[in-house]
């Protein structure tokens, strides 16, 4: 009994036992306090505090018991080799190759058919397992499908009314210079692929030339100082929601791609590879803003089928 392996580590075991007991009692009090805190519907903080005290008290006491009061050793245990004897290995390997070999030689055809059958079964089960999950993506741009089965289409058509997410039609005098607004084609408010950011870049009237600072050949795509671009980042599809009026840049908050508003929203910086697709817009005689066509390319991030 005087073996040092079995003596508690604590210099004064009686005192350590008292400390461990006290710690556990504090823990018990903590749990009781938790029940009370729950009972009186106290705050989350009180619940956490009481539960934490309970668990920490109980835990500390138990650790003290295990570490300072139990026989500390050190104790030793022998390891045993994992591998079997050579004879056992030979017997095992022979059982597989020998017995298996005989059967493979005898029934080659059966084995082949079994393997092919198993493969077909896997394929047969995988088809509904995968194919039922969702629609096939539509092949190309001219598909008249909905935006739900095509990465190429949006709901923007020539003449679509620009409306806010709340459905309010957007008039030509709605925005001051420097203003931005997220718009949708009427009837598709809040739709992800259709989101468009409308910017008013200059104070131009109906008799002025259309907004000039667009890409070459697209000067007619804006109207009265307004331009409209897809709000889907061409990097990973986040909404390009930050407009820095001073530098005339659109910034995607996800991965910091920056698009130059004054130059057809070409990417100036960051991981986005392509300009934001531009939506041609116009104003009808009543002052209502309308799309003057659809996007000339797929919106959002790149994918294999994109030409």
């Amino acid at each position: 009994m005087d073996d040092p392996h079995l003596q508690p580590l604590a210099k004064n075991p009686k005192r350590m036992e008292a400390i461990a007991a006290l710690s556990m009692v504090v823990g018990m009090a903590g749990f009781v306090a938790f029940i009370f805190a729950y009972w009186v519907n106290a705050s989350t903080q009180w619940e956490a505090l009481t539960l934490g005290i309970g668990m920490a008290g109980l835990g500390a006491g138990t650790i003290a018991w295990g570490k300072y009061l139990m026989p500390p050793g050190p104790f030793v245990e022998e390891r045993h080799d994992f591998h079997s004897t050579d004879d056992e290995r030979t017997a095992m390997n022979a059982a597989i190759t020998g017995r298996g070999g005989i059967e493979v030689k005898r029934r080659k055809m059966l084995l082949g058919i079994f393997a092919v059958g198993g493969g077909i079964m896997t394929l047969a089960l995988l088809i509904p397992g995968v194919r039922s999950l969702g629609p096939k993506p539509a092949k190309s741009e001219d598909t008249q499908g909905s935006t739900e089965d095509s990465l190429f289409t949006t709901n923007w058509k020539k003449g679509s009314k620009l409306v806010t997410v709340g459905g309010r039609p957007v008039k030509v005098d709605d925005l001051d210079v420097g203003g931005v607004l997220t718009v949708f084609p009427q009837g598709f408010e809040g739709s992800s692929p259709d989101q468009v950011i409308l910017l008013r870049l200059a104070d131009l009237g109906p008799n002025d030339p259309p907004y000039p600072l667009s890409s070459p050949g697209r000067t007619e795509w804006g109207v009265q100082g307004y331009v409209a671009y897809s709000k889907l980042c061409t990097h990973l599809g986040c909404p390009v929601g930050l407009y820095q009026q001073k530098t005339q840049q659109l910034v995607c908050p996800c991965h910091q791609s920056i698009f130059d508003v004054n130059a057809g929203c070409i990417p100036q910086f960051g991981p986005a590879p392509r300009p934001l697709p531009q939506l041609p817009i116009t104003v009808d005689p009543t002052g209502q803003m309308r799309a003057n066509g659809s996007f000339d390319q797929a919106v959002g991030p790149g994918f294999w089928e994109r030409p």
Binding site: A48, L49, G59, G73, F75, E77, L236, F303
Partner: protein, 494 residues
């Protein structure tokens, strides 16, 4: 009574023999062996709090009007997923505590796995015969990261919804099959036909946890079968394990540690707000907030996507979005595959096919340690790159400068880290007495002005001599003490 019960089981299952060797199983005493335990105990919290959350969470994108007790949201249209998450936070008693403890436990779970893995790597504990367990561990890490992502996506709030949008685009970026995979997964073009939340839900609460529980059983089973590694020391050889026994010491200490881990997680859950989704609002595909960052274990992927140059490949009527595919698919795939095959790379490289039960000191394997340091530098580099915008704001630097810094730092710093670590390891190996406690020297000046130096007296613990380890005494009986040294006879300890 206890004897009778144990005998009842032994009669039927033969539990006595294996049971005793299980109780005698030796756990080496070293603090770094607790890291895996932290992961295990946070996993237990995850299961417990997770079950609580499933009772109130509704996995549905169906739109409802919020009528709960959180005033700013009242009357707004929200999805059932979002509404029920806010509801279980504010209208279910203890719900907020459970939800935040769940989130904290997930962050700690993955953190503990990462640190545990670093311990195993740098001490060479993955070597033969433990390659299996290393691989099981890596797979658990991958599944843990995936499940963490799925889990924080479930509330359908603005931040996590943006994460789902990014996930769609990443799947979409895979050449040839990407758009098909994305459409199948989401039930159509983003945001899909309302199936993604229920699908994430069943994967998050059933499929991955079930696999994790199985792998965990394998991880611990292999550990028991193969026994622990240990650091070299007095009486420790490749053929034995020295430490404290499973019963009672380890059970007591680890149970206490379990409660301590629980305490920390619940205290964090109650005091440290995490993922305050009621402030972010319901996800809308056209809305976004500033400084969008994922949970920490996804940060390295986000950072990789940020610093990647815009290298989209277009040709022959097809597009390969390399600016997404390389950092978001190839990069993590490469990292995880390197981790999985590392034990084999190392054993082929060093031509070392022996059993290793004694651990290395990291400095004694400078190349491995340097490789590990380089890997960590790479991962931390991309991790910090995921907050370029926050850093630019904080340090008042142009965003572009911060990004260009990381574009060079991430590929170059690991090379520097490799050679630096290699050098430090080698220096430490030749330096004498390093890592040991230094004896102080006392310098005295005599009245004549002469200086003498003497060593300070031995401080408590300095001259500590470890005693020899003995087999665990199991039998409490009255065997004649004179027989106690004979083989197969255990000593008397009553």
């Amino acid at each position: 009574m206890i004897d009778k019960t144990l005998n009842w089981f032994d009669d039927r299952l033969g539990t006595a023999k294996g049971g005793r060797s299980f109780l005698d199983k030796i756990f080496p005493d070293h603090w770094s062996f607790m890291l895996g335990e932290i992961a295990l105990y946070s996993f237990i919290i995850l299961l417990g709090t997770g079950v609580f959350l499933t009772l109130y969470y509704v996995p549905s994108a169906h739109e409802i009007v919020y009528h709960g007790s959180y005033v700013p949201l009242r009357g707004q249209n929200v999805s059932e997923a979002y509404g029920s998450t806010v509801g279980l936070s504010f209208d279910v008693r203890s719900g907020l505590l459970m939800r935040q403890a769940h989130h904290w436990a997930a962050d700690i779970f993955l953190g503990a796995i990462a640190v545990h893995m670093a311990r195993v790597f740098f001490t060479g504990a993955f070597r033969k015969p433990r390659e299996f367990n290393w691989i099981v561990g890596v797979i658990m890490l991958i599944l843990g990261i995936l499940n963490g992502f799925l889990g924080y996506s479930l509330p359908d709030d603005l931040v996590s919804g943006t994460g789902i949008r990014i996930a769609f685009s990443i799947v979409e970026s895979i050449p040839v099959v990407g758009s098909y995979l994305a459409f199948f997964l989401f039930g159509g073009n983003f945001p899909g036909s309302g199936v993604i939340i229920p699908r994430f839900y069943v994967i998050h609460v059933l499929i991955i946890p079930a696999i994790l529980v199985g792998l965990l059983a394998a991880h611990l089973g292999l550990l028991i079968k193969q026994k622990h590694t240990q650091f070299p020391g007095k009486g420790r050889t490749e053929k034995n394990v020295v430490g404290s026994p499973m019963f009672p010491n380890f059970i007591a200490k680890t149970t206490g540690f379990l409660f301590m881990s629980f305490a920390v997680i619940f205290l964090l859950g109650g005091f440290a707000q995490i993922n305050a989704i009621w402030q972010f609002g319901q996800y809308q595909p056209f809305q976004i907030s500033y400084a969008v960052q994922p949970d920490w274990y996804m940060g390295w992927l986000d950072g990789a996507a940020r610093i990647m140059p815009a290298w989209e490949w277009v040709g022959w009527g097809h597009t390969i979005p390399l600016e997404i595919f390389l950092p978001a698919v190839i990069f993590p795939g490469l990292i995880f595959n390197i981790l999985i095959v590392w034990p084999f790379i190392e054993s082929i490289w060093t031509k070392d096919h022996e059993y290793h039960n004694l651990l290395d000191r990291p400095r004694d394997r400078p190349k491995r340690t340097a490789a590990g340091a380089a890997m960590l530098t790479l991962l931390f580099g991309v991790f910090f790159a995921s907050s370029t915008d926050v850093m630019a704001n904080f340090f008042q630097l142009p965003l572009m400068d911060v990004l260009w810094f990381f574009r060079f730092f991430v590929p170059l710093a690991p090379i520097v880290a490799y050679f630096l670590t290699f050098k430090i390891c080698n220096e430490m190996r030749v330096a004498e007495g390093i890592g040991k406690r230094k004896r102080a020297l006392i310098v005295e000046r005599s009245t004549e002005g002469e200086y003498t130096t003497t060593e300070a007296p031995v401080r408590p613990g300095d001259g500590h001599e470890e005693i020899d380890a003995i087999p665990v005494p199991t039998f409490i009986d009255t065997t004649d003490p004179s027989l106690a040294t004979a083989a197969g006879v255990r000593r008397v300890i009553r």
